[in-house]
């Protein structure tokens, strides 16, 4: 009986492996790896649908003419050529604005958050926690809630807080239209964005500084490090490179994402005389106001490439060699 059963099993096994030559390999794969993919599957599905596919579609659309009604028509590199040679608004306002905004807010916010994290780390736990919470709290406010506050503070009539203060001190003679005048809008956008820039990257840097082994500082002082500045350059930053890099990437992404602030503040797209127009607004302008989706997609691809490029640069600066 037992002999027969085992004979049957052997026969069955032979049969199944003959039926399907990859049977064995598949079985091995199922045993070893399928569990991992099962755990990954839900995330992967959402990730593919809402992140990977949109990026691919944007890439595809950027080579077409697409007005949302007709099927996209292949257009070759036309959109990119137009973007680089004929889009006067992009070249005259959007690109310089974006670069100016990114250069000030990106490194500015990054240096500020490292500096603040470092200072906070020099304080005992209780005040450190309270102050860190206050510094992080602006990052929790949504764009819409913020619009109410900043719009009231910078309101253009004499009731606006800033106007009222300046009038009171006789610095100005009549109220200034802060949010509608091209010369002030950008500055206000930068201030508001810097104000809310202590996000996840700031928390990571603070934690990174606190994690550094205190013996490293003692060893450093034996090796002749005599002041705080040397300590930061030779011990603190090298010890927290991974957090510095994470903070840099987060700050780059936040900088390019913050683009909506100008439209929120001034109340319209395009912003007054394109003074606060950033790439993000340009995409919205063409995609959702003019329905030139193909062109907007090309601008989107340009934006993604810029973010990738800057992140690469950050990687060069802070990445470890391994």
């Amino acid at each position: 009986m037992t002999a027969k059963t085992s004979e049957q099993t052997i026969l069955l096994q032979q049969k199944s492996s003959w039926d399907w030559p990859f049977g064995k390999a598949l079985k091995k794969w199922v045993e070893k790896e399928s569990g991992a993919y099962a755990f990954l599957s839900m995330y992967a599905l959402m990730f593919i649908i809402f992140i990977v596919v949109p990026v691919l579609v944007a890439f595809f659309l950027s080579f077409t003419f697409f007005d949302t009604i007709q099927f996209p028509k292949f257009n070759g590199l036309r959109n990119y050529i137009v973007l680089l040679t004929q889009d006067e608004i992009f070249m005259r306002y959007v690109l310089p604005n974006t670069i100016k905004f990114a250069v000030i807010v990106g490194p500015g916010g990054y240096i500020l958050s490292f500096l603040l994290a470092w200072i906070l780390a020099q304080l005992p736990k209780a005040p450190r926690t309270v102050l860190a919470l206050i510094l992080y709290s602006p990052s929790m406010t949504s764009g819409v809630a913020m619009a109410v506050v900043w719009k009231t503070l910078f309101s253009g009539d004499q009731n606006g807080y800033l106007n009222s203060i300046l009038l009171g001190m006789s610095v100005i003679q009549e109220p200034i239209q802060w949010l509608q005048s091209p010369q002030y809008l950008m500055t206000i956008m930068i201030i508001v964005t810097l104000w809310s820039s202590m996000g996840v990257g700031f928390l990571a840097m603070l934690a990174g500084i606190l994690e550094i082994n205190p013996e490293l500082y003692e060893a450093g002082s034996l090796d002749g490090i005599s002041n705080r500045f040397q300590e930061i350059i030779h011990i603190t930053i090298p010890s927290m490179k991974p957090q510095m890099l994470f903070g840099a990437v987060m700050s780059i992404v936040a900088t390019f994402q913050a683009g909506a602030i100008g439209v929120t503040l001034s109340g319209g797209n395009p912003t007054p005389q394109y003074a606060g127009q950033l790439i993000v607004n340009h995409i919205e302008d063409f995609g959702f106001l003019r329905y030139e989706m193909g062109y907007a997609a090309a601008v989107s691809v340009a934006l993604l490439l810029m973010v990738l490029l800057f992140s690469r640069l950050a990687n060069r600066l802070f990445g470890s060699e391994d």
Binding site: E33, G35, A36, Y37, F39, L40, M42, Y43, A44, F47, I49, F50, I51, V55, A58, L116, I119, Q122, P124, K125, A132, L133, L135, Y136, S137, P138, M140, T141, S142, V144, A145, V148, V149, W150, N159, V200, A204, L206, A207, L210, I212, Y217, E218, S221, K241, P242, L245, M250, I252, V253, Q257, V280, I283, A296, S300, L303, L304, V307, G319, S320
Partner: protein, 302 residues
């Protein structure tokens, strides 16, 4: 150098150094530098609180007042009494926001902890590549692909459904990244010991990994909360039916339309709504901040 001499020489450094135990006069200069900045950061927040409780005559006082003098709840009662143009009460928007936020947080924790467990503790060929792709996706700017996303959501028949509020928020690359880094900190021996004891994959995930990564889960909960609760874009882009829109969307209508914030009656209502939007963020962060900090120490990119 004797031991005593050594410690007396370097105790000074310890006192001045990172994470001190108590107050030391050398810290005064840091407070001196921090305080103006902290006040600058805090002013708008105080303003949200103070503004929401101002009666009409203080909202429009000249010269404008920063702090409220006679606080009142009138703005809040106005807010809840006001019906939107289509006759939907504000409580409906608030209810939608609460349900959507809770479901999204729960689902996103399950989805991303499972994926992070696989990426950190399981062995498979594509592991490194998949994590690298997720790290690149950290740099993803959602607004850049708004248009294709719109087309995909339309094709999937998700327009005007409750699901469209939830599904796009589930793949949070930062969340998966932080969780994976945190699980890396759990020794492999713990998982191996459980395997020897005969625990299944799901058992290990549910009974060993999840309880050990509570701080990281709290962090993901906060990040998802902030992203979902504050999100007005989904209602604007993908939802036509008023009864499916969220509170954040309602607030945008108050602040952007001419009938909203600019009108005399609208400003008080907008101020109250801003406070209601902001407060839950603050409370949750205060409750969970110590967990966040312990997660962040694992947050490095290599």
């Amino acid at each position: 150098m004797s031991r005593k001499k050594f410690s007396s020489r370097f105790s000074g450094i310890r006192n001045r150094g990172i994470n001190p135990q108590g107050f030391h006069t050398s810290q005064i200069k840091f407070y001196f530098f921090l305080l103006p900045l902290v006040i600058f950061m805090l002013l708008p927040i105080i303003f949200i609180f103070s503004h929401a409780f101002k009666p009409p005559d203080e909202l429009f006082a000249y010269p404008p007042r920063f702090f409220v003098v006679n606080p009142t709840f009138k703005n809040f009662t106005d807010l809840f009494a006001k019906l939107s143009s289509s006759g939907i009460p504000v409580s409906r928007y608030l209810f939608n926001s609460v349900v959507i936020t809770i479901v999204t947080i729960g689902a996103s924790i399950l989805v991303s902890t499972a994926a992070a467990y696989a990426l950190s503790k399981k062995r498979f060929k594509l592991k490194k590549a998949l994590f690298a792709i997720n790290t690149v996706a950290l740099m993803f700017v959602p607004i850049a692909v708004t248009i294709p996303r719109f087309l995909i959501i339309e094709k999937l028949n998700l327009m005007n459904t409750f699901l469209v509020h939830i599904l796009p928020g589930l793949a949070l690359p930062v969340g998966l990244f932080l969780l994976k880094q945190f699980i890396d900190g759990i020794p492999d021996e713990v998982v191996e010991a459980a395997q020897i004891d005969g625990a299944s994959d799901v058992g290990i995930y549910w009974r060993i990994i999840l309880p050990m990564i509570k701080p990281a889960i709290a962090t993901i909960a906060i990040l998802t909360f902030q992203a979902t609760w504050n999100n007005a874009d989904i209602s604007t882009l993908y939802i036509n039916s008023e009864s499916l829109k969220t509170f954040a969307f309602y607030l945008t209508t108050l602040t952007t339309t001419t009938a909203g914030a600019n009108a005399v009656a609208g400003q008080g209502i907008a101020a109250a709504a801003s406070l209601i939007m902001f407060l839950p963020n603050l409370i949750i962060f205060i409750l969970l901040q110590s967990q966040v900090m312990s997660t962040m120490s694992h947050s490095g990119l290599k």
